[in-house]
């Protein structure tokens, strides 16, 4: 009856469970383990780092080391690493961090200083602004892997067709004019694509660059937020107008990746963003507009100064790592001139990690393969890490503010501005709300 059949089912279930457990345990026991020293490396899943992962097999062979990789998206990685390093947990030997974290963590003594990698490392070859971005009080806490600045990408074919010409150094009035002329929603082509997704590393980064360009700053020297000041209003209004009138629909959900996909797919006439997209946009397997992508400098406002962009990814070693010397060897290998040369020869010069060293921009093979190289070179040289704005500021950082609170602040401000972009509130209202958020967050901070 019912009981017998259920007892039978019972036996069968037990058998299946037992089998599953045995399989799992067997797999667990039989999994091969080696005996070499191991390094745990955490890195971002960007293309350049993936190539590093592939090339690192050479390093493993040469040094008799086994590398264990943890590869994650930028935000997840940062969260993971911050918890880890701030609690002194001895989990990673080499970590990939950016110019935002490096000074902050160096200040707190969480990273091993990297000033002793040897004379052949070529410290002088590294761009000063890049090195500065990864240092605290003169000591370098992360070795630069690649760096980026900002530029204007544009479609040469669309400009030609409309009889327009993009100057090498455009300003925002010209950009506005171009965007209006080139906006063609009927054919799914939009005048300009700009980041709209809320996030301190997404739309806020772009806004930060903009407000600095327009002569504004995040805080005055007493750490009083300035979000309702005229430069902010002017910059954010321009941004909102540009995107709402001449930008793609749904820009609110478009961050760096979505915009890059839009441009590569042919939907944008212009795109102002980080230079790291340049190589991919010229690669026919990743871009439909590889043949007609042009590069210009990031637009200027009337100020003519301030408001640049510099971001650098670097490899660092947590103080709590027990394999610091081995880790240093890896860090030195991965950020050296030789590594860049090997990567260029093995994978093609478009795929090397760019922007960190002078020698890269003197290399004829690279210059021949990458037409945007001089522009990027110039952009990085013109970035003044400690002088984001024409006005005096108590902080460092160009498209971010180098304080621990900035991740939260930047995201809150980004959310409020995205509400203006969506048309839910006016720019003034959004900035007023953002101002109160920043005031709340910076309560208690004053000139030290």
């Amino acid at each position: 009856m019912a009981i017998e059949s259920t007892v039978l089912a019972w036996n069968r279930t037990w058998r299946v469970l037992a089998l599953a457990a045995t399989v799992a345990i067997a797999a667990w026991i039989l999994y091969p383990r080696g005996g070499r020293p191991e390094l745990t490396v955490a890195t971002v899943n960007n293309a350049e780092m993936i190539l590093m992962q592939r090339l690192s097999r050479d390093f493993e062979k040469q040094n008799g080391v086994k590398l264990n990789w943890v590869v994650l998206g930028e935000n997840t990685l940062r969260q993971r690493l911050t918890i880890d390093i701030s609690t002194g947990s001895n989990t990673f030997d080499v970590i990939t961090i950016g110019s935002y974290e490096a000074p902050l963590w160096g200040e707190r003594g969480w990273l091993v200083p990297l000033d002793d990698l040897g004379k052949d490392y070529g410290y002088d070859d590294i761009f000063p602004v890049v090195r500065q971005g990864l240092s605290y009080q003169g000591r370098m806490y992360a070795a630069p892997f690649y760096a980026e600045s900002a530029c204007t990408y544009y479609r040469k074919d669309l400009f030609r067709k409309a009889g327009l010409e993009m100057p090498v150094q455009p300003n925002y009035e010209e950009i506005r004019h171009f965007a209006q002329r080139l906006n063609d929603p009927a054919h799914n082509v939009y005048g300009i694509c700009l980041r709209g997704e809320p996030g301190w590393g997404q739309n806020t980064a772009l806004i930060s660059m903009l407000i600095h360009r327009f002569g504004g700053r995040w805080v005055d020297m007493d750490w009083k937020p300035q979000l309702t000041s005229p430069p902010w209003v002017e910059a954010v209004s321009l941004y909102v107008d540009l995107v709402r009138n001449d930008g793609p629909p749904g820009a609110i959900a478009d961050g760096y990746n979505e915009n890059r996909a839009l441009f590569a797919n042919g939907n944008c006439a212009m795109w102002v963003d980080a230079t790291s997209g340049a190589g991919a946009l010229l690669d026919p397997s990743q871009s439909r507009v590889a043949g007609t992508t042009g590069f210009a400098r990031a637009p200027m406002a009337k100020e003519g100064r301030g408001g640049t962009w510099m971001w650098c990814w670097g490899l660092a070693i947590p103080s709590s790592s027990t394999r610091a010397s081995l880790a240093k060897r890896f860090v030195k290998w991965a950020t050296s001139r030789e590594y860049i040369a090997t990567a260029g020869e093995r994978f093609g010069w478009m795929r090397i990690p760019p922007g960190s060293r002078q020698s890269t921009y003197e290399n004829p093979a690279y210059l021949a393969a990458a037409p945007f190289a001089p522009l990027v070179h110039e952009a990085i040289l013109s970035a003044d890490y400690t002088q984001p704005s024409v006005l005096p500021v108590p902080y460092v950082g160009l498209q971010y503010v180098g304080i621990p609170e900035f991740q939260a602040i930047g995201t809150e401000v980004g959310q409020e501005i995205s509400a203006a972009l969506a048309g839910h509130v006016t720019v003034e209202q959004a900035l007023a709300l953002a101002q109160s958020e920043v005031e709340r967050a910076l309560k208690g901070r004053s000139r030290k």
Binding site: Q202, G250, I252, Q415, H424
Partner: protein
């Protein structure tokens, strides 16, 4: 007659002693994270300033409760949970009624309907956001444009509803998974008798099927609520809480305010507030669907 109220066990004290270890383990299991959260919520503890902890008393709570964003987030949380519950229960019942019928290909349809529950929420959200809902290169935009309707900007104009749509899609299979077998376990003689009495499909549903489904529906509601109240991944991946606070729920607010700023004290206080809110909701639902736990006496 259910097992609960019918027997007065002869050796209940003995049984309780036997079972105590597991209940105690359960207690401990639950209480440790809760206790730690309560502890940290009274501290001023920022991960980026370690060693500078201090006692904050009610400070974290005061900060949070005074913040306008908290109340907006709580409202969004309730809205989100309520709408998803309604959608999943409605479509879950509808689909179950359909799949209860016998027709060729039913088993395959059942398989496909249940599939969304197996996909990782982050991936689901990314697929919906970029492959389907993107107004430029998403599939939905292409369809609506082809019929002349233009593209809908889901995340700009209806951010919370877009998330409700995605989450509703993810959880409807779960509702089907619970409601369909319940439907199928209906006593066939009862159904037959009703049919012979001349009951049409609507009357059949109202008087026979629906009452039978009420208890499984309560189970679905309860379990979904547990997950939906702390929904996070989908919001993080699609709208980032925006525009403004339109799609920020309590879990996302805690993440943004407390975790991004590495304020452990505030994150813990937010967690406690979330539990209090959840308890209120659960108590409210218990009262409304009181029948379900009433026979536990």
């Amino acid at each position: 007659m259910t097992g609960a109220a019918a027997t007065k066990p002869a050796y209940s004290r003995h049984s309780r002693a036997l079972l105590a270890p597991s209940v105690v383990a359960l207690f401990l299991w639950m209480i440790v994270p809760l206790a730690m959260t309560l502890w940290f919520s009274a501290e001023r503890y920022n991960l980026l300033s370690p060693g500078k902890n201090s006692f904050a008393g009610w400070g974290n709570y005061r900060d949070l409760l005074a913040h306008r964003a908290l109340w907006v987030a709580m409202g969004n949380t309730l809205l989100l949970v309520g709408l998803v519950l309604v959608i999943t229960l409605f479509f879950g019942t509808l689909f179950s009624l359909l799949l209860d019928q016998d027709f060729p290909g039913r088993n395959l349809c059942r398989l496909l309907v249940i599939a969304p529950f197996f996909v990782m929420p982050t991936v689901s959200a990314l697929i919906w956001k970029n492959m389907l809902m993107n107004p430029v290169f998403g599939l939905f935009a292409w369809i609506t444009r082809s019929v002349g309707l233009g593209a809908i900007e889901y995340f700009s104009h209806m951010p919370l509803l877009s998330i409700v749509l995605i989450v509703g899609w993810e959880w409807t299979p779960f509702a089907v998974l619970i409601l369909l077998p319940a439907l199928q376990s209906l006593n066939p003689e009862q159904v037959e008798a009703a049919r012979l009495d001349g009951a049409g499909p609507v009357a059949l549903f109202r008087h026979i099927q629906l009452p039978h489904l009420l208890r499984p529906m309560a189970v679905v509601a309860m379990i979904e609520m547990i997950f939906l109240l702390s929904l996070f991944a989908e919001i993080y991946v699609t709208t980032g809480g925006g525009p403004g606070l339109a799609s920020t729920n309590l879990a996302y607010l805690i993440f943004r305010d407390a975790l991004l700023g590495w304020d452990v004290g505030r994150a813990s206080a937010g967690g406690v507030i979330a539990i209090v809110l959840a308890n209120i909701v659960v108590l409210f639902l218990m009262r409304v669907a009181g029948r379900n736990l009433e026979d536990v006496r």
